[in-house]
């Protein structure tokens, strides 16, 4: 059974389903550090996505579960090499300054109130960072 958690970005709340069965190690790691207070910023290389970093979950060389290169809209993406988590509001791909196409873990998907949440993710490009909180639902 997939686990649901709560996410709050600025003044917009939403729920998120973690893909426990497809990415059990990553989901377990994230659940183990909840609640999380972070700041969401817009990416510079990967497209229409906002990200936050959790240094404690950075694991270069870690096994990549449920790997994707393109990020589905409304998804939560995890890049263990950076401890990076990302919410995608449009077209996006795992990239950085070196690689035009890398892979990342598709860890979850927004459910309730996804659209207002993604709209606020989009605005981080022009309006700057937003406070983010993830907690058990």
């Amino acid at each position: 059974m997939n686990t649901r958690i709560s996410v709050q970005l600025g003044d917009v709340g939403a729920t998120l389903t973690l893909f426990d069965e497809l990415a059990p190690l990553a989901a377990h790691k994230l659940l183990g550090v909840l609640p999380i207070d972070a700041e969401l910023r817009h990416v510079r290389w990967s497209g229409e996505t906002g990200y936050f970093l959790l240094a404690s979950l950075a694991e270069p060389g870690a096994q990549l579960e449920n790997a994707v290169t393109f990020y589905p809209r409304g998804s939560l993406i995890y890049r263990p090499e950076h401890g990076e988590f990302a919410f995608t509001y449009g077209q996006a791909q795992a990239r950085d300054n070196v690689k035009l196409a890398d892979h990342a873990c598709l860890l979850g998907a927004l459910e309730e109130n996804a659209e207002p949440f993604l709209e606020l993710v989009r605005k981080t490009r022009t309006e700057g960072r937003q406070p983010l909180r993830l907690s058990g639902s």
């Binding site: 510079r44 290389w45 996505t49 077209q91 990239r95 490009r125």
Partner: protein
């Protein structure tokens, strides 16, 4: 010799046209300046900001020959007509891959403060920007 005056947020600087740019292209660039607008951070290209220039540039005459832009480099995208200013690691890309642009100038004065100010876009979002012909 003509140069460009750049303002981004609270930072100001000057840039000199590179010698490879044809004088007719410089004339055309100068004809659409000054330009006041918003420097928007790139989402595919790294540490790069884009300012939409007014219409009137002969974009099909621009020599799009570079994609890696060192910090403090100014370029124009023939596809979008945007002025691009790099402030860190940057390679002009789109969702489809690498895209070549026309390098036009290098920041010569105020480089550090412009780069520092541009980098704040990561926290603050887009910044007001002006580019004009210097005296």
């Amino acid at each position: 010799m003509r140069h460009l005056e750049i303002t981004v947020g609270k930072a100001t600087g000057e840039a000199e046209f590179i010698s490879e740019v044809d004088s007719k292209v410089i004339d055309a660039i100068c004809s659409v300046l000054p330009c006041e607008g918003t420097l928007i951070p790139a989402i595919w290209s790294g540490s790069l900001g884009a300012l939409q220039l007014p219409p009137g540039l002969p974009l099909d005459e621009l020599q799009a020959s570079v994609c890696s832009l060192y910090p403090g480099t100014l370029a124009i995208s023939p596809r979008t007509g945007e002025l691009l200013l790099s402030y860190g690691a940057a390679e002009t890309r789109t969702e489809l891959g690498v895209e070549y642009v026309c390098r036009i100038a290098t920041v010569t004065t105020g480089r550090g403060s412009l780069i520092t100010e541009c980098a704040t876009m990561h926290d603050r979002g887009a910044l007001g920007a002006t580019i004009a012909i210097g005296n």
